[in-house]
């Protein structure tokens, strides 16, 4: 218990004033609503959606041909699809 409290205090010190995760979450949630079911390329730093396609093949081909860097691709899950709770 003591170790846990010390670690939590240390985390709070480390991340105080540096947490931008909430802004990125709001941006991502909005992007997922707008692009539900599509594959999206997300700017690694800002969370902005740079491009969206219906398949990862199309999206990756576009990213590579356009020479776009510093983006990560992921599928925007739809509200209609069941929430994933585990692979196993």
């Amino acid at each position: 218990m003591r170790i846990r409290m010390q670690w939590t205090k240390r985390l709070r010190r480390l991340y105080r004033g540096k947490m931008s995760a909430r802004d990125e979450h709001l941006k991502m949630e909005q992007a997922f609503v707008e692009c539900a079911g599509q594959w999206v390329a997300v700017d690694r730093e800002t969370g902005d959606v740079i491009a969206a396609r219906s398949t990862p093949y199309d999206l990756s081909a576009y990213i590579k041909s356009a020479g776009i860097r510093s983006v990560d691709i992921v599928r925007a899950p739809s509200e209609q699809e069941p929430e994933m709770v585990g692979f196993g």
């Binding site: 979450h25 991502m28 997922f32 590579k64 510093s70 992921v74 925007a76 196993g88």
Partner: protein
């Protein structure tokens, strides 16, 4: 070129709107076969023994799966797909960095026949957790990647060297 030193901090990724906010521990990664894949978001899954990747990454990264290292049937999402494993390089990309800011290592990557998850890769124990000290914190909504030996420095527990990648019972 100077690569930012660890620790690297990755914000959790929010899911589609649900009953309450769903936050996923993800990192930025890239697969290296004959080609480099487009970077993607990978789910950090401490409950998985393996690193698994979506089938579309086979062509995207130029992976040759004609002679896999081995094949296993795994339990994934209530199904038992055949998963073909091969040795590949994975890059962990810096959370705010350019594509040239990465840490690369080689490990076994399995490719299931089917893939439904939003994340193109799942990073499990063998191949990811044996490379880094991985910390997650719900309130901070962060996954923090640190050097392998950091766990020892923090908790005074001597860690073994990284797992070797040799199967004990080849089939």
């Amino acid at each position: 070129m100077t690569i930012p030193a660890l620790p690297w901090r990755y914000p959790f990724q929010v899911d589609a709107p649900r009953l309450r906010p769903i936050l996923r521990p993800i990192v930025s990664a890239q697969l290296r076969g004959a080609d480099s894949s487009t970077p993607f978001k990978a789910l950090v899954d401490s409950g998985s023994e393996h690193v698994l990747a979506a089938p579309w990454l086979v062509s995207d990264a130029g992976v040759d799966l004609r002679n896999p290292k081995y094949s296993l049937r795994l339990g994934i999402g209530g199904e038992n797909p055949l998963v073909n494993f091969t040795d590949l390089k994975i890059r962990l990309l810096h959370p705010q960095g350019d594509d040239d800011h990465f840490i690369e290592w080689e490990t076994e990557v399995g490719f299931p026949e089917h893939w439904r998850a939003p994340w193109p890769m799942l990073l499990g124990q063998h191949g990811f957790f044996d490379q880094f000290t991985v910390s997650m914190h719900r309130a901070a909504a962060l996954t923090v990647i640190e050097e392998w030996g950091t766990f020892d420095q923090r908790f005074g527990i001597e860690v073994r060297e990284s797992d070797d990648h040799t199967r004990r019972n080849p089939q």
